[in-house]
Symmetry: C2
DNA sequence: TCTTCTCCATACGGTAGCGTATGGAGAAGT
DNA sequence: ACTTCTCCATACGCTACCGTATGGAGAAGA
């Protein structure tokens, strides 16, 4: 197999599937899932369609790859980042601070959630939402809620997160001091 | 002016701008703002593009008209429906019950908020969000919160509403009894 | 009746993007 | 050195949609 070994130096002459997927994810952040087009991305990467159709079967496969990358960042990475903190209340606050803080990922989230009519998007979103709500549910259980109540609280907290995601697309939070504290207080109120 | 008077009978041979705008709004609910295309809508209405370009200047004008219709339904109509109820706590619960209940409008909302990268969509969404948050802010003031706190609570409540809107696209609420009561309790907790 | 205006059909050119077919340069194997 | 394989460029046909140009049927006005 005459494959070029990627090597560790920065300049790689050959593109990989991951490079394409990341470029597609960036396109989603800019113009939504529907705006993912092969030829514009190719010219951004400095190549032509010929490259794309060697790495991928068609456009849907590219979108799917991009969504899988997002899924990984949105669940595994985020949850792993909170493993160090064990106190449930702190964890909730850190989670909200972390997820509502990173600006670039918000464009992606909002664009992806706004395209759930696409069945490919739907399945990924369902998995991500389920994982996140399960994570939140454990927090509320640790906070002393009973299973049914913890489940409702998790849903409320997750919905609140999603809503802030959408809101911040138009209204950048205005950096009001103590807002997240108030938010955590409301969500954990007895 | 040889214009045909619309008359009051149902069968109108001539189409109006409103019919086109409503059809476009239905298209938004199905496939998002980007999916609004002149020719498919025309064939749905049983006419051709010739009709469209007589009523509208171009596609953007159609999208704008559809968004204006949504804006009206999303603010004026909803708020007017709650005028009868004066108790702030009941009003909040009625608002959530009402807005989280109508199934068809959710598709629209989610699709529109998922396309805020479009500047035309952005301006409309900003107006709608401002009006809704102002409405909620008044409720929380009536509930005894101070201005700054009421503003934060209004934002939280609105974000929660938006989040549930998104969530229900994939997870149909599961009809858990008492969920909205729990939601209202959380939002109005001291 | 004859003209005028409204509303729409038809026909046309143009662009953006998808997917395929084919060739070719260059590295990897042998 | 010769072949094989990887990665990509070029070129092509196809579809969907936009916007325009033009004509025409039919109601309204005069």
């Amino acid at each position: 197999m005459g494959m070029v070994k990627p090597g560790k130096d920065a300049r790689e002459s050959h593109l990989s599937r991951e490079v394409w997927a990341d470029a597609a994810l960036a396109a989603i952040a800019r113009g939504g899932v529907d705006s993912v087009a092969v030829e514009p991305i190719a010219s951004l990467l400095g190549v032509t369609k010929g490259s794309f159709y060697w790495h991928f079967k068609n456009r849907s496969e590219l979108v799917e790859a991009a969504l899988h990358r997002w899924e990984h960042n949105a669940t595994v990475v985020v949850i792993a980042a909170l493993e160090s903190n064990t106190d449930p209340s702190d964890r909730l606050k850190d989670l909200l601070t972390y997820t509502l803080g990173s600006l670039s990922s918000k464009q992606n989230e909002n664009a992806i959630f706004g395209a759930v009519n696409d069945p490919i998007v739907l399945t990924v979103v369902e998995r991500v939402s389920a994982a996140r709500q399960a994570f939140l549910e454990r927090i509320f259980v640790q906070l002393g809620h009973r299973p049914a109540a913890a489940r409702m609280r998790a849903r409320i907290a997750y919905a609140t997160y999603l809503g802030h995601l959408t809101l911040q697309m138009t209204d950048p939070l205005a950096a009001s001091v103590g807002y997240i504290d108030e938010l955590v207080a409301v969500l954990t109120a007895e």
